[in-house]
Symmetry: C2
């Protein structure tokens, strides 16, 4: 059940899939060199593999204990968090002004993958702290930034993201937590929040809650939401911890997985209301929330990649070790490692191909964010921002969907042993199941992609994306390496399926929104499949140019193209022809 | 979290999908009428829904306790089992000679689905007892039958099926449990078995273990395996319980799901060896085992159907009740039940369509067994036997694969609540995960289908199957009801894909076995998809002839055809073109 960071795959995907090498050559990151990046990743890999990964199972079995409002995390977790933040890992991308290292998002994406591979339950808390830092940095007042950012960046304090209420899940506009103006510029919050990751914990002596609430005179729906910073302990004028604020954890949930991560129900307003400080403008909380959410969505996608990588590593190790049955020519008394059996190979290749494809998509999204923040000219920044907006829902949903597929195959490869908890494969399967749900369900991601992201710049962003994929297919055709098999044909078909389905959706999203939305989820899968396959091909083509591991990269690309991307045509057809059967099926739903 | 047996769907699938109506008209079951069948099913549905289903969650949370060699099942389980067997449910298909009711396998298939829908952990034990009854009845000596069959049939004693050892899972031929001839006609067994379902329990005062073991002079592999009956308590000459036999449970497993079902490690031979009685001939245990296994495989398929049905029912109820977001035209202050959202509808329709398709396949397999046992002439029995052999691996693997897909969608429909254990959706997700593994992994089923079942009668069985599907497609084309949408085209394509993939496999299974086996799992999925879709269409066509719920049956058929069967072409291509990418990918597996 160990985890060894796949530094070669990660480094290659960053350089040649996401284009970090080119970006560095272009001077996007100042003096940063690829050697610097390698050094950071190697150290992150060491920390993830040696310090965090061994704590993953104890987090699952011990869980997080709740008593009298306090949470006790699993043995060793508090110390691991301390060492992790002292090593600077919370501050990788944060601004230098607040003590951050201002490294590329792309580099942090690779680190994030590794933290989640090591332990999703552990990495969940810092993930949300980083998202909160983004929101505070982008929208907070100077006073708030000065009071809170440095300690959030260092990880001395953790942040939470408090959106969900019992009646307001996907529909965040339905939230009821009330914020009243106190007259001194602060606010008093009363209400209940649920499913709050690390809402209470024993890692840090203060917790900075980022809470969505509604002013008494706010308009209904999402246009009446404001974001507040609500510290667990208020600060004295010198910045030291003062009075306990009126916000507390009421209980923690009994979940299918990520047991180590305390998921809290939070109560504000036992007495006079929790003291909160507005971030951004009143009733403009949605914009702040999307700053948090977009970061968190990409991070959840990387959680999927990390989990899938870990499940794949464990299944591969088991399949090399476990002997059952024979291959052609073996004697009845002999037995072969199960990795020799074609059906087991298919499962393992599916796991590896999906994992690497999802990694490519997430890193590409991170690179688009880097370019949107650092490119020299405005047009390039805008184009990159549109690309990042387009890729984020795909990165989140595709990666977490395949993480579930991969974790399930991981159980299957283990046979009966996979169903026994001690083996560990079942934990990945349980842990993975939340990722398609939180930070916006994958259905919400698909709706976001179809209804908000495709129309960006009148469809120019998605058109540019398809052109980029086509150029990879052209390179494949030009390469003509026999190791690719049918790759060029299958990926070419997949890209054209994506292009046609996109055209159909753009033509129908306004006039027949329900018909377009009926195909949103298969469309997102199609988008991820075509994109992930082409990014694998891009890496394989780079390997052919550069030498090194060409056989492995060609083989995984070929497998993806012939065995996974081959399904693109059916997804296209589902998008374009399936809606009537979805929308007209009342009788089949008994409604 | 309640379960209401879908008697209308079950009855219609039996009559018009599996053809129970025709079989009864043909006199296959003597005096049995459809009214009799309905009465049995109604009572089974009542028992499953009212008595067993409410015990499902306590089984999950309490589990099964093990202490000092004894197992304590969850509160209420023992009493429910007693009432269940006293009502005669263990004896539905058993021979009248031994107290059974000799009802059709088809009827018991429907009952089996309901027991598993109510509680997989509960239904698991009886499932194996019924399989053991088959083996004893088919292969046991008159003496053994007289001593054991009646009490196994009544359920006063339960049976177990003991194949697996640590080094012998899928490769049953690697088992080492040793059986020595005692000189008095009995045998002494020594060894260890693992993953033994209900290996120890508190339901019955004796347990009859069916144990595979190897004689000292047995040839290696599967040709040296013998089946033994090993009672927990030996019988005195008058049939009452005598001495405790030298077989005991050593421990129970900590599993991902089916917590209520005790999964035991068994030890034989602490002292002089467990006394066992040979079933069938020495070294001919595999044939006996296949009698047990085939029955159990179909039952596990029905377990998948039951679980999928239950998960679907719960998700539908939640989706009708839970309000989030708005549909077109609603005000910002209103909210719609989530079943109104197209993406949620897609999930629910996928759940229902896959469940009903799997049900159709399992019932068709059961009907083939009935015809193989009861048809008047030898040729018909033989053809039906071949059909049952062909359909059994598909029934097992397709139904359990889709049960996992459906249970996972069930969690997703619940959103964040789905991840909370109290909701119950997570239990179905955990419980379902074992079914693709036990009673022969789904990979083994696919290999069995491709390498043993397709070649049956030189391919005549599968050819007849494809012809039957084609005739349904012809009826669809003739019907031309607009409610079918693209159904006839998509199912026609799927059947031709199945036919071509079958031809390719038959041409290659001998000369390139690894290439054929590389596509075995996608082939099985293709087989299940084409067959399940056509069986739905057959039911819908019957509904059009008969009136009644035509809209629902047409809608679910159409959804299946346009949104699921549409993937058949990709599966065909994977089978025919994918092998090279699977077999030549050593470099991508790091091996």
């Amino acid at each position: 059940m160990s985890y060894r960071a796949p530094l070669d795959d990660i480094g290659f995907a960053l350089r040649h899939g996401a284009g970090l090498g080119t970006a560095i050559e272009q001077g996007l990151f100042g003096e940063l060199s690829l050697d610097d990046v390698d050094a950071v990743l190697a150290e992150a890999g060491r920390f993830a593999g040696q310090i965090i990964a061994p704590l993953n199972r104890i987090g699952d079995t011990f869980g997080a204990k709740f008593q009298d409002g306090a949470v006790t995390t699993a043995p060793g977790w508090k110390e691991a968090y301390r060492d992790w933040r002292l090593a600077g890992w919370n501050a990788v991308t944060a601004p230098a002004q607040w003590g951050g290292q201002a490294l590329p998002q792309t580099v942090n994406a690779a680190c994030t993958e590794m933290w989640h591979a090591a332990s999703v339950g552990f990495a969940n808390g810092p993930m949300l702290t980083m998202a909160a830092i983004d929101a505070l940095n982008a929208h907070g007042s100077e006073t708030l930034k000065r009071s809170y950012l440095e300690k959030l960046v260092s990880g001395e304090w953790m942040g939470t993201m408090q959106l969900t209420e019992p009646q307001a899940g996907s529909d965040v506009g339905a939230l009821r937590t009330r914020a009243e103006r106190a007259g001194d510029g602060s606010y008093r919050l009363k209400g209940q929040k649920i499913f709050i990751t690390y809402g209470e914990q024993d890692f840090t002596d203060n917790i900075i809650h980022f809470v969505l609430a509604r002013l008494p005179d706010a308009p209904p729906g999402t246009r009446g939401i404001s974001l507040f910073l609500v510290p667990k302990f208020l600060l004295k004028p010198d910045g030291s911890l003062g009075a306990r604020n009126d916000i507390r954890a009421h209980s923690i949930e009994h979940k299918l997985g990520i047991h180590g991560s305390p998921t809290c129900t939070m109560i504000m307003g036992d007495t006079t209301g929790a003291i909160g400080f507005l971030i951004g403008e009143e009733n403009a909380g949605m914009a702040c929330m999307f700053t948090m959410m977009n970061r968190a969505r990409l991070a959840v996608g990387l959680q999927g990649v990390g989990l899938a990588e870990r499940a794949t590593q464990q299944a591969l190790a088991y399949a090399r070790d476990r002997k059952q049955g024979r291959t052609a020519g073996m004697k009845a008394t002999e037995s072969a490692p199960i990795i020799a059996h074609p059906d087991v190979r298919r499962m393992l290749l599916t796991m590896r191909a999906l994992t690497q494809a999802a990694r490519g998509i997430c890193y590409a999204a991170a690179m688009a964010i880097d370019r949107s923040e650092r490119s020299g000219d405005d047009a390039a920044r805008k184009a990159a921002h549109a690309q990042a907006s387009l890729l984020t829902p795909v990165a989140k949903a595709f990666s977490t969907d395949i993480a579930n597929d991969v974790a399930s195959l991981g159980v299957q490869v283990h046979g009966g042993m996979g169903y026994i908890e001690e083996t560990g494969a079942a934990q990945f399967f349980r842990d993975a199941r939340i990722a398609p749900i939180y930070e916006g369900t994958n259905g919400i991601q698909a709706i976001d992609l179809v209804s908000r992201k495709l129309p960006l710049a009148n469809g120019a962003a998605v058109a540019a994306h398809c052109e980029e994929l086509r150029s990879i297919v052209r390179d494949l055709n030009a390469s003509n390496d026999p190791g690719f098999g049918w790759t060029a044909v299958r990926l070419g078909d997949a890209v054209e399926s994506l292009s046609r389905a996109t055209g159909w959706l753009l033509a129908n999203i306004e006039k027949e929104p329900d018909a377009a939305l009926a195909g949103a989820s298969p469309y997102l899968r199609l988008f991820g499949t075509a994109t992930g396959g082409c990014l694998l091909a891009k890496e394989a083509l780079a390997a052919l140019r550069l030498g090194g591991d060409t056989a492995g990269r060609l083989a995984i690309t070929r497998f993806f193209a012939e065995n996974i991307a081959v399904g693109a045509g059916a997804l296209e057809r589902t998008v374009i022809e399936g809606a009537a059967g979805v929308l007209g099926a009342d009788a089949a739903l008994g409604s």
